[in-house]
Symmetry: C2
Subunit: 402 residues, 2 copies
C-alpha cells in the first residue's frame, strides 16, 4: 500500500555501504556499515523487551559513553536468545572493524534484525567488513534502506529539505518493520540523519518526544520485539546550529522532523504483515493523553475489530466492546460518539437513528479507513495507526521459518 | 476438539425449559427459562467491560438485593449498545414473566449473548414466556445447554456426583463461549447448580476464588465482552449443609467444584474459534501468582506464538520475546528455562545444546501442546489455557454478520 517513494538525499557527514554477506536466507543486501563524521550528535531509543538482544545492550551502553563513529546493521538474524556466544560474536566482529578503521570498539553501534535464537554468522560479517569500509559513500542510502528489510515487502524511506534563515537543511531517514509491531518499539529499526547541528542532550529530548507521537503510536499485531531501536543523528555539517534558530524556525524544523517520523511509522503500518487496510484511529476530548491512547490502542489491537474491517463489515459493536474493555477515566460510554469515516454510528448509548449501514459498507471498501471516537471529558486526543487482520497475516507468520 | 460428553443430571430445586423463539438467525433453541426453588443461594461474577449490557447491570443489581427465582437467557442478540430502548425492552419482558409467575421483576435475572448493537426482539420473548413457564422440568438441562450457544460448535456441559458423609451431592453446569474470550470474563455465560446447602456469602467467596483459577485463566483472542456472566446456584435441596462438613469433605466438594469450572473453561478453549490446538501454558517458580499469570498470558496472547503453533513450528524465539514483553519482577531471562512438551529448548540465555528440532516438530503435531516456563525466583505458579491462531479464526470473524 506504499506509494512510490523519492530517492534519498545524501547527508553531509554520513557515509554508507551495503553488501550481500550471505546472512539472509535469500541472496540480497543484508549487511550495512554507516560512518558518522566526528562532531556528530547521536540519540537512540531502544526496546524495553527484557529478552532483548545484546546488540541493543551494547549499543545503548556505547551511546551513553560517547558519540560513536560507526553503525553495523545486519538483517536475517536477530542475535537474540543466543547467550554468551551471541555476545562474544558481536565483540569479535566489532574488534575487526575497530582494527580496520582505527577506532575503539566503544565507537561502534551494532543492530541486528531477523530470526531469534540462532547464532549469527559473525564470520560473514568479518569477511565483509574490509569491502564495506572501502566502499563507504555519500550515496549509500538507497542500498542501506534495502539491506535492513526482513518480512517487509517495500523499502521505507523519506528525505526532506527545508530552508532555515536562508540556508538549506537536509534530513534523510529509513526504517524497517512489518510484523511484531507495537508501541515501545518493535521488530523495528529506524535511522534518521540530518546535517543541522544539535547538541546530544537536546537531540535525546527531541527523539524521545517525537517517538511518543510516531513509532509509539502504531501497532500491527501487538508484539514488541527484542531488537528494536531508533537512531537519530545530527552531523552538524551544515552551517546551521539549532540552538541559534528563532522560535518559529525551531518549530519548522521540529515539525518537519516529527512528520518524517510519522511518515516512517505509517509506512511500517502500511506494509504491516498481510494488511489490506490502513486504519487511523482518532480518540478526541478525553481528560488525559494516556486515556485517549489506551482507548485507541484497545480498538487497534482488537482482533475482532481488525477482522471486521478486513471483511468491510461495519460491526461497530466490536468497537464499542473494545472501548469498554480498557480501564480509563472514561466512566460513561453514553457520552461516547463513534464515527466510521464521517458517518456517525453510535451516540447516546445506541445506534444513530439516521445510520444507513449500506453507506458505511461502501465507505469500508476504501484502503484507508478512519475510526473516530469523540468523548466530552477533556481536551486531550490521540491518533493511532494500525492494519486489519487477514488470512495473509496468518500465512506469513505460519510460514516464516518453515 | 471436545470429547463426547455425558448427559447432565437434574439438580433438585432447578427446573428448566427452552424454546425456539425466532431470536437466533437460524431456527433452533435460543431462549431458556430457569426456575430456582425458594431457599436457594445464588452467586454471580460479571464482566467488567464498561460497555456492558443492561442485562448485566440489572442482574447484578437484583442479585445484590435478593436470591432471584427465575433466569431468562437468550442467544442471538446481546442487547448491548442499545441504549434506553434496550433497557426498557428488558423491563417489558421481565414484567410479563413477573405477572405469569406471580413474582417481582427483581426476582428475575436476565442474560443475553449474541450480536451487539441491534435491538432485541422482546416480543418474541414475551410470546414465548407462557409456554416456557408451563414446560419447566427437572430434565431441561440438555436443551438449556444447546439454547445458549452462539458461534460455539459444541455444547459444553458437565455433571458430577460425590458422596459426603454417605450422602450424594449432585453438581451440573453448562457454559458457552468460543470467541471474545479473555480473563475477567468474555462472550461467555456459565450456569452451575448444586443441591448442597451453602449460604449466599460463602457461595460468593467460593465462586470468586474458583473463577480466578478457571474462567480467568483462559484466552482465545484477548477480547472481553459486554455480556459475560457466571452464575453459581446452591439449592440446598439435598440434606447436606456445607457448613456442617468436616474439613476433608469441604475440600472434596471444593476441589470437585473447581475441577468442574476448570473443565468448563477448557471446553471453551477447545471450542475456541478456528482452533486446531489446545495449548496449556505453565509458568513455575515466580515470586508471585500475578507474575506467573502475566507471563503465561503474554505467551497465550501472542499472535506470533499462536501462528507458530498452528504451523507446528518450534519457533521458541517468539516465546522468549513474549516473556520479555511483559513487565514483572522476573528481571533476568538467563534464569528462565523454556520447555515445549518435555523438551528443554532454552536455558542459560541460549538454545539447549542437546535440543533436536525434529523431535519438537514431531511433538507439535499433537492436538494438545504444553509450554512450560521455569524460573527460580519463588514458589508461585500459574496455568493458562489457550488456542492457536488460524485461517479459520479470520474466516469466522470476517463472516460472522455478513
Amino acid at each position: 500500500m506504499i506509494n512510490k517513494l523519492k530517492k534519498l538525499k545524501p547527508i553531509k557527514g554520513i557515509k554508507l555501504s551495503s553488501i550481500s554477506s550471505g546472512m539472509y536466507k535469500k541472496k540480497r543486501l543484508d549487511l550495512s556499515l554507516m560512518e558518522i563524521s566526528d562532531g556528530s550528535s547521536i540519540a537512540g531509543v531502544f526496546t524495553i523487551n527484557k529478552g532483548r538482544s545484546d546488540t541493543i545492550n551494547i549499543s545503548e551502553k556505547n551511546l551513553k559513553k560517547t558519540n560513536p563513529k560507526f553503525i553495523i546493521v545486519n538483517s536475517g538474524n536477530a542475535n537474540a536468545g543466543t547467550g554468551k556466544e551471541g555476545f562474544n560474536d558481536i565483540i569479535k566482529y566489532s574488534k575487526v572493524l575497530a582494527n580496520i578503521a582505527n577506532c575503539k570498539i566503544e565507537d561502534i553501534l551494532v543492530f541486528s534484525t531477523g530470526i531469534i535464537g540462532e547464532r549469527i554468522k559473525y564470520k560473514n560479517i568479518i569477511e565483509s567488513l574490509p569491502s564495506l569500509n572501502k566502499n563507504l559513500s555519500d550515496n549509500g542510502w538507497e542500498a542501506f534502506s534495502k539491506s535492513i528489510l526482513t518480512t517487509d515487502t517495500t523499502v521505507k524511506k523519506i528525505s526532506k529539505t527545508i530552508s532555515l534563515s536562508g540556508k538549506k537543511i537536509n534530513i534523510s531517514g529509513v526504517t524497517k518493520g512489518s510484523g511484531m509491531i507495537m508501541p515501545n518499539m518493535a521488530t523495528m529499526l529506524s535511522f534518521v540523519a540530518t546535517d543541522i547541528k544539535i547538541s546530544k542532550s537536546t537531540l535525546i529530548k527531541i527523539l524521545k518526544k517525537i517517538t511518543e507521537k510516531s513509532f509509539n503510536m502504531i501497532t500491527v499485531d501487538g508484539e514488541t520485539s527484542t531488537n528494536d531501536a531508533s537512531i537519530l543523528i545530527s552531523t552538524g555539517k551544515s552551517s546551521t546550529n539549532f540552538n541559534n534558530l528563532k522560535k518559529n524556525e525551531k518549530d519548522l524544523f521540529l515539525n518537519t522532523l516529527e512528520n518524517i517520523y510519522k511518515d516512517l511509522a505509517k509506512m511500517i503500518v502500511k506494509d504491516g504483515e498481510g494488511a489490506t487496510k490502513f486504519i487511523t484511529i482518532n480518540v478526541k476530548n478525553t481528560a488525559t493523553f494516556s486515556d485517549a491512547k489506551k482507548i485507541a490502542m484497545s480498538i487497534a489491537k482488537s482482533p475482532l475489530v481488525k477482522t471486521a474491517i478486513f471483511a468491510e463489515d461495519p460491526n461497530w459493536g466490536r468497537i464499542l466492546s473494545a472501548i469498554g474493555n480498557v480501564q480509563t477515566k472514561v466512566k460513561d460510554l453514553s457520552k461516547i460518539e463513534i464515527y466510521i469515516g464521517n458517518f456517525l454510528v453510535f451516540k447516546d448509548n445506541q445506534i444513530n437513528k439516521n445510520y444507513v449501514e449500506n453507506r458505511v459498507k461502501k465507505y469500508l471498501k476504501n484502503d484507508n479507513v478512519d475510526i473516530t471516537i469523540k468523548y466530552n471529558g477533556g481536551k486531550k486526543s490521540a491518533t493511532v495507526w494500525t492494519t486489519d487482520l487477514t488470512y495473509e497475516y496468518i500465512k506469513i507468520n505460519a510460514e516464516y521459518r518453515t
